[in-house]
Symmetry: none
Subunit: 207 residues, 4 copies
DNA sequence: AATTAATCGAGACGGTACGTCGGGTCTTATG
DNA sequence: CATAAGACCCGACGTACCGTCTCGATTAATT
């Protein structure tokens, strides 16, 4: 998916003057993500990002109005491809998509998505919609899974999809929330175990 | 409840010289909360807090080692009394406790709890336990509710309490996450409606 | 006079390709002078000059290698025709030429000449000769006047011309130096009065 | 002399809070002068000054509002003790004071005084008076010399002192103006020779 | 007519310095 | 001693300009 979230300039296509370096954007986003991963939020510096991307600060500020916007986009760019999943069974799909989210949250960049969403919720800025947009992407993916399951007759026609998404994603979020720094290295098997437990709970008596 | 979380210096009682102004602590915490509510995280300034509290910066730093600690305490001080609930029915208790959480999250100070928990999860600092402690409080409360329900025969003995808590709290969290600034004023009825939907979903086929 | 001082590229005459816009040079110099007059040195910007001249920055940098060179030329272009003066008497000539200089210094562009000369004196750049060249022009003019006066018998054959030039020009310079922004609008009569006083002093006992 | 020219803050004496480091001011001024001497105007950086002075940038900006103000003060601080001179004879005094000025101008810091004066004359800022104040100091010194000479009977009672000062100082200024970088190392004897020539010219027929 | 080569306006580029702001510490004089 | 005030060092912020570069679009002189 990976749609720009707060997105560099509305892009008035006139092609007057030197065109923007098409590679710069990618390089900056990557640099931002790496910096964020290595130094964390409080060590995250625009100067460092620019330097690492081999770019002048003006080039960064030409595309993003401030630090937050950049980080949001950098982080949102990573938030793709969680969603498309098709294992053949309803239960399997939910486990798969939840495990994806779980893994996403264990990655510093992925976790940053959540942090920014939390920030955005109360901040007076215009970025308030970030979380909503991100959430929509996820929701849509799970809704597709549910629709498929209903088609296949694996789920009742009146299965309340919205609460299901909220519960599943929320549960994963809450669980990763309690994992401190060192514990954030879970083996794949453990992730699947935890996720399966949640899916089982959510699906109990509905298949 | 309101246990100090990272807490002003243990304060070795020796009482030589001028005693600490007993009101200062409260004034600082209040000021911190107000500042945080009005300006958000990025506008939250130690100078501003001190000024609003009518206090010197040293007085603040004498009690809290840094900005994070202060905000954590300021926020934790508000985080009380979510938990004890007894409406007489399992369903009612869950609705009540979820609504409490919902309301808590709509308050800037309450929301800050979540933000700090998110921060703490990846930060190398010693605050990593904050979220855990907070989560424990909540979990314990819901576990008590579940135990009571089982006693009353309203729930099966093998009801998986842990996933239930995660799903319910997670779902509330995710839902408030998508609420932007202006939408964060929900009428009580709307809160109950949303919460009831979630509880119904979680309890379906289990009562 | 108006010789190019650091001058737009020697221009190797080959004339293939589009010829340079003949008006651009003039427009840029004018714009530079106006900008300098309005904003002063620290507000003098290449972008602004280009914009005002209705020209791309490349067009400017194609003709002058840097900001200094442009300003020098812009300013030197205005520095003409101070020198040729012939009133018929020695005293009259000196008054005339001094008044010319005085007026020149009250004009922002003229004043800029001095500023650049001062800059050039210590800067390691190759502009070091600017002041010298300018000074030579002036000196030559006054020397001509002195020679004429000696011919006419108005001045002794051993009149030390060099110190005379230094004193006269120096005195005018120092006097304009103490004039702040608002005071730099002197009526013609006042200029003549001040200049006459200086010439009288310098000529005393020598005619 | 060395009066503050644009001078750090009017200084509202209340002595609340930590007093300003009394050494900082001196250290900053010295650092500024050294930086200016070594790197010249265009290489003169606030960061470098602060670093060299072992001081934070805020400490600098607390005392001077911007780069210009600092440089003016740094440079003005050096402009002292040119003036007091008493060799016993009128001619000797003038030679002495002129040689002092000459030497002052050959020093980068001293030359900067002139540069700033020139800047100040046209700049819209409030520093327009710098040059005037500086000039006054010098003028006053020479006037004292003239007065003494008249007392001693070495000069006529009606000697026009003002033009004399202007001519002498102006001539020295103009002469140093034509000296390029490398030529600015004159042996003491050469300075005296040049200065004596000027004084002789100015005094001719008046002693 | 097609080609070639230079110039043009526009504006993005990598840098560097600016002046501001905030964190956390330190130093006074006053309780 | 603690306190209120406020200066201190540090380092990041976002802006502004410099001088360079790269576009697409002219504009002539040369094929």
């Amino acid at each position: 998916m990976n749609a720009q979230v707060s997105s560099p300039q509305p892009a008035e296509r006139k092609t007057r003057g030197r065109p923007r370096d098409p590679g710069a954007e990618r390089r900056i986003l990557d640099a931002a993500l790496e910096e964020y991963g290595e130094r964390g939020w409080s060590g995250f510096t625009m100067d460092a990002v620019a330097r690492r991307a081999g770019v002048g600060k003006s080039t960064v500020y030409l595309r993003w109005q401030d630090k937050d916007s950049l980080l949001i986009d950098a982080v949102a760019a990573r938030t793709g491809s969680i969603e498309d999943v098709d294992t053949g069974s309803f239960h399997g799909d939910l486990v798969e998509v939840s495990a994806n989210l779980y893994r996403h949250y264990l990655d510093p960049a992925g976790w940053a998505t959540l942090r920014l969403a939390v920030d955005a919720a109360t901040s007076p800025s215009s970025l308030g919609t970030v979380s909503a947009r991100l959430a929509e992407q996820h929701t849509a993916a799970v809704l597709a899974i549910v629709a498929r399951a209903i088609e296949r007759g694996e789920a009742p026609r009146d299965l309340p999809a919205a609460p299901l998404v909220l519960c599943l994603y929320g549960a994963v979020t809450m669980q990763t929330l309690t994992l401190a720094g060192s514990e954030r290295q879970l083996p794949e098997a453990e992730i699947r175990r935890r996720v399966t437990e949640l899916v089982d709970f959510v699906l109990a008596g509905r298949t």
